[in-house]
Symmetry: C2
Subunit: 299 residues, 2 copies
Amino acid sequence: MKCPKHVRINEVGPRDGLQNESAWVETEDKITWINMLSQTGLPYIEVTSFVHPKWIPALRDGLKVAKGITRSENTVYAALVPNRIGLERAIEGGINQACVFLSASETHNQKNVNKPIDQTVQQLKQVIAEAKEANLATRAYLSTVFGCPYEQNVPIEQIVRLSEILLEMGVDELSLGDTIGAANPVQVITVLETLLPRFSASQIALHFHDTRGTSLANIIPALDMGITSFDTSSGGLGGCPYAPGSAGNAATEDVIYMLEQMGIDTGTDLNKLLTAAAWIEKKIGKSLPSRNLQAFKTK
Amino acid sequence: MKCPKHVRINEVGPRDGLQNESAWVETEDKITWINMLSQTGLPYIEVTSFVHPKWIPALRDGLKVAKGITRSENTVYAALVPNRIGLERAIEGGINQACVFLSASETHNQKNVNKPIDQTVQQLKQVIAEAKEANLATRAYLSTVFGCPYEQNVPIEQIVRLSEILLEMGVDELSLGDTIGAANPVQVITVLETLLPRFSASQIALHFHDTRGTSLANIIPALDMGITSFDTSSGGLGGCPYAPGSAGNAATEDVIYMLEQMGIDTGTDLNKLLTAAAWIEKKIGKSLPSRNLQAFKTK
């Protein structure tokens, strides 16, 4: 297989991880944890979401978190912004990168943001344009690419069409999400074989959840096809609040262990990552899914 | 990637799984569980070990288990046998396949069986010859292929030499073990690139542990290189008794979910496998590592 020399790991635990945990983490603890993550060498940390607190109460302290953290000059600090109000708060919080989101399946988008895809696209266009005017880097999430909880398979034509729309808005990166954690390596190959002749591999990140244990396996063919950007969460945080014990995002420590062992540089310190994951695990108050974390704790 | 049409999954949970769990499982419960596994379509179940009970007390009821289970005609029932006495008990128990074991690293072999590798090889030769005389199928485990807890890296020349010795004994299958659960996909490629010009892919099985979360990822390049036999355990049983929370073998349900989603036939029923894993999890009394099991339980 072809292995890249370097891979970029995007830490989404403080946003995608906490958003899906039922536990409330105190603002000062979020800040301490993000500061620990900043010291690991991670190039990207998504620190919060500026979605209305009614929808994601776990992140209702987003502005305090964004203002409270100590920045590392080698790390980009990102946040999820659904609309102009969210963007304003992100800018106020000193966020470097604004992330918008869209579902590839109509039903999921409707349930998620209460709008059809086409209306959402119009709104995101404005947000991206304004983020760029404010000199923020930008990122778009396309969810349910590898399966939708309502529509099951999402047609590849729809993924191509929406990827094109999002990239034409000028986002710096498009993150393709396996929202329900059901993707498999052959499916990853199929999706990338369709997208890569149209878009540059350097524009695409992959965002896997480990719900069915396939997240690391899915990364293997993606590396071989030239993808060098992956989203992960500290400790594998992010299990569904209604599904105790279920896994969340691909665990940062597991992905980084694997990549570094494969001879791929991630620019991070695994021991510091394990220490940060063990710290947030205590605050969450339950065992987190990261395999390396569980092995590390017994040392 | 090249995907085989069919993959053979070797269920080692009742042996390798239970051997590494501190919980005692009652004989009748082991039998019930193995009978449930027999109904899933699994082609191979390693039901117990005939190692001296002093070494593995968790499997001291091996003969009762072997005699008590209800056989499915499509399943091979295997057991670990270290020596002639073990083989006699395996034959008495009606076992179809005798499995011997050897470490690729001298220190691990010495600590495991209290003999140097060369003496162990002489003993295994006799056991294999007698097993074949008794018309049993045979299998050899080569441990610490992907790393040793005492010697770290094991030279590839040593793995080639011992694989040759074991295959020349006439074993039907050689299972290469990642005993400490540290392997990565590039290492799998390196080992197979050395072995496959010398031995047939059909003689080799791979045996991954998920200690660091890489077990499913390791299977991907192996499939691409023509390996079609993998060892797994129900529920991912087999975490080290001294390391609570640590993962065991690659979980049967996770591997089978991934393979079937990739369009690879395993001849098994995932729902029945999940039911069997949920059943043994209750008996063990703690959450097992299988991601699909944890997702299944919340449905």
